[in-house]
Symmetry: none
Subunit: 197 residues, 4 copies
DNA sequence: AATGAATGAGGATTCATTCAT
DNA sequence: GATGAATGAATCCTCATTCAT
């Protein structure tokens, strides 16, 4: 009742429902960028603005702040799962893909910490679920007798450790440090790159 | 308001500057607790409240949010430095102290990441300085031929790695994981405890 | 898209205008429920959703928020009018029907207040018109010499008074209080129930 | 950290703690006016603006929307209590004061409804408590054998009934209707005015 | 004629920071 | 020096309303 809109002729085009899917994708992409620049606590309005949509659209697609982050990170996890499911995949290759995501997205790193509560970014149990999916993908490829197969927790502890090593302003530097970390662990890693195909 | 004279030894302490120091200490202690509960992004007012002082006092002692965090972490670093400077200190012992702080204070973990920019907690270059001090303290005790002496970065990469492994709701769990991390690195660690004199 | 011809008596109903009427009815029914649960300020989207139609349909049928409420209340008023027009109707019976609506629909109560301005529900002059219709229906049955026939305003003031008495979480309690109110007014009321047929 | 303030020299005077009490009073007064004009659902920002204070001040003094309303209504109730406690007070006089508040403040009317839940204004159990206080004040003055002493609920039902009668754009009209309501109830009322001293 | 997405203004709430006392 | 109130910008979130399909 009180809401005033723009004069009827100065309203940006409404592209109709067709835009829905496009907008969602734009939001996820924007979120990825914004997270990279400003961290997981960046204002949601910044994400909407960068995606070129209104605030409401963001809320239509994602009920809360966590849902946005999950959508972003889910893509990363899915890529790792696909890499692990590919024909002839071996652990080193998949670790390369994982490492690529670790060096690419600071936000992804925090997922692999996966505690749950009180985090200011508000990502709760979801993160744990994503972390479990990464673990599942990796463990299937873990040969008996592998350095990380000794204790059940060792695999994900190692992943966390590499995350801890990944710091620095440029991706190149982060990659260098990640590789050093795997070397210190005595674990072989394939090429650090996104999974394609 | 007016001068009160009392026998010298029963004179009520000159509260002026003395109170200042006490307040500063209370603020740092309060910040440590608040950070542990709510993370580095907790409202400054919460810290002042818990310290039992007004907001203004906080600003008198610390110019900005980062300064508070630095003050907290500085204490951790100083303890590590003292541990390293103690008679007969060896690397394993000091790593034990370092590990204790890693498992105790989530905030401390982020310092050892020490990047600087866009972090939401706003800890800037200071963190780097603190990280350097930790490195200096450790490196003096690093024997030639030690696993972490091969490459210059390996030492602090390893420290970051252990930080990355430290997750979980209880300190006990975090300690367990930290020890697993050192084991995976093949590095010996002394008892995990604070440095006492 | 193309013409489908079927035997005359099995022709799928022309859904066009017929659906429109059905939708309108569904909206009014949904609004009644939503108002009961959440008050007159409930989001319009909630009404559309409960009616199982899109938001646009609501706007096609009702130009604004007030129109929806009016449509709901109009049904109540119409029932009272019908009760008053029925063969052999007397005042007590019709007051019983009126009272039923007062105890059934909190929204209806506000209509009988019928001021117009600043009300948050935005029901404007319409409410006044509805109130007038109720008055007209009742007054025709008001015998000379009735307690409420002394002053011209007394009739609707009394109605307002009963509305004011109608509070409480359950309809039963509201009915009890309404009856107490009529008793205090010394006015006889028939059975409290909707008008059927 | 991100908050930008005005240039240091263009900031409105901070009058210090002295203003606290004054501000609270200004807020309550502003709220009373705003409620009268726009109802209990008026934006809190409108209240702060009219009081000439920042939004934060409102939140400092009142934790939530309900608290503001309570503060306003509490003043009304207190006046009624004082009127009832005055030397030689009798029921008619106090009902006059009560009626004055009913005709003055639409918001006060809703308190006397005092249900509790789902109201959009969010005033919960508090309203009930206020209603009880009014009842207590009145009942002490209710003589045995009074029209409203027959049933325990009759007293407050009558009050609610008068509230229900109180409609209309001007106070004068509302008073006229309130008096008509008391007349229909056969209850004597003293002069309709605020309680002074 | 229906759908349901998009828009974006408005309102709630929080907190960093200043400053009179 | 300390206190704690005030300020107001920033952010979150919710709808009323429009409109492409």
């Amino acid at each position: 009742m009180t809401q005033r809109s723009l004069p009827d002729d100065r309203r940006p085009a409404n592209e109709g429902p067709r835009a829905a899917a496009r907008n969602r994708a734009a939001l996820v992409a924007a979120a990825r960028e914004v997270y990279a620049e400003s961290g997981l606590t960046a204002p949601l309005s910044a994400i909407a603005r960068r995606a070129g949509v209104g605030q409401g659209v963001l809320y239509r697609h994602f009920p809360d702040r966590a849902a946005v982050a999950i959508a972003v990170l889910e893509e990363n996890v899915r890529q790792i799962e696909r890499a692990a499911a590919a024909d002839g995949a071996d652990l080193a290759q998949v670790l390369g893909v994982l490492t690529w995501h670790q060096t690419e997205s600071a936000a992804f790193v925090s997922v692999l910490h996966a505690e749950g509560e009180g985090s200011p970014s508000g990502i709760p149990a979801y993160a744990l679920a994503l972390s479990r999916r990464v673990e599942r993908a990796l463990r299937r490829l873990l040969p008996d007798g592998h350095r990380l197969a000794a204790e059940p927790d060792d695999l994900m502890i190692a992943v966390g450790m590499v995350s801890g090593a990944v710091t620095g302003p440029t991706r190149e530097q982060r990659e260098r440090r990640a590789l050093a970390a795997w070397r210190l662990l005595g674990v072989e890693v394939g090429p650090v790159r996104p999974f394609e195909e």
